[in-house]
Symmetry: C2
Subunit: 164 residues, 2 copies
């Protein structure tokens, strides 16, 4: 439980500064965290999220807005409840997200004839254009992530998590 971990580049840089000043210790032991998947998943998640936010900022959309555009674009007449469940977004937050996307003319809500309470979501022409532009940026983010992880690891993790 106290096995030392191969440090990241930044940890190593910091450690080496420490070593110059104080000598001794080669690595920082992660202790019990070494067997905690959550610790490593969080590190990966932080990296991905920061790069993703930076990537999408150029075209002024958030990661959550991007996910909404993708899933609405891929499912004709999707309801708000279905979208919330699919993306794991709380319904109140999704309502605000959809409101902003509607304001900028990217989506519209059509009243379903089968059920008056149900609003089917749809991308507008402008929404499709925004999504296409976003996908170009996101492909660059994906490329950076694949290079950072290595293509093989990227694929292994993706396959392992698809059914989660």
């Amino acid at each position: 439980m106290t096995r030392a971990r191969k440090p990241t580049a930044s940890a190593l840089a910091s450690r080496n500064q420490g070593s110059e000043r104080h000598g001794s210790r080669p690595t920082i032991a992660l202790g019990a965290l070494n067997s905690h998947l959550g610790y490593f998943v969080r590190r990966l998640q932080v990296w991905i999220f920061q790069d993703f936010i930076r990537t999408l900022k150029r075209i002024n959309i958030s990661p959550a807005q991007f996910s909404v555009l993708v899933v609405v674009g891929a499912n004709r007449g999707l309801s708000q409840a279905e979208l919330a469940t699919t993306l794991g977004i709380e319904r109140a937050r999704l309502a605000r997200l959809l409101h902003r996307l509607e304001e900028r003319g990217a989506i519209r809500r059509l009243q379903s004839s089968a059920d008056g309470r149900r609003h089917a979501l749809q991308l507008t022409q402008q929404g499709r254009t925004t999504l296409a532009r976003a996908k170009i940026q996101v492909a660059r983010h994906q490329k950076r992530l694949t290079e950072r992880l290595g293509a093989e690891k990227h694929q292994v993790i993706l396959e392992a998590l698809r059914d989660f």
Copy 2:
């Protein structure tokens, strides 16, 4: 890019309700998200974090506090800067975390004789007791995660991410 995904249990439940009311569509297509590792990592991260928070709440410590106790406990005389780098926590946030752990008597900061500006972190006896109690709870969380992912996938992902 529009391949339908095997839905999660909750998505399936929602979808099935939808099908009863409106017939037709078997699954919600994830579209381009299907090849986005970030989407699946986020889902896993949310699950882990929620379970982890619930687990540690019983003994009134946060996931970040737990990580601090583990790494301080595993590294004699660690500095605040080294801890911040290792855990990927912003230094101002770490200072607040350490202050709270000091207040509850779990850690202490010793002034280093080699460098007056440097404070070596150490667990107190009470800190070691808290950490031991936390580890018992965390082992239960780990067990739930391994069961949820399957032991093999858990191992594969852990190995793939250790060097990230």
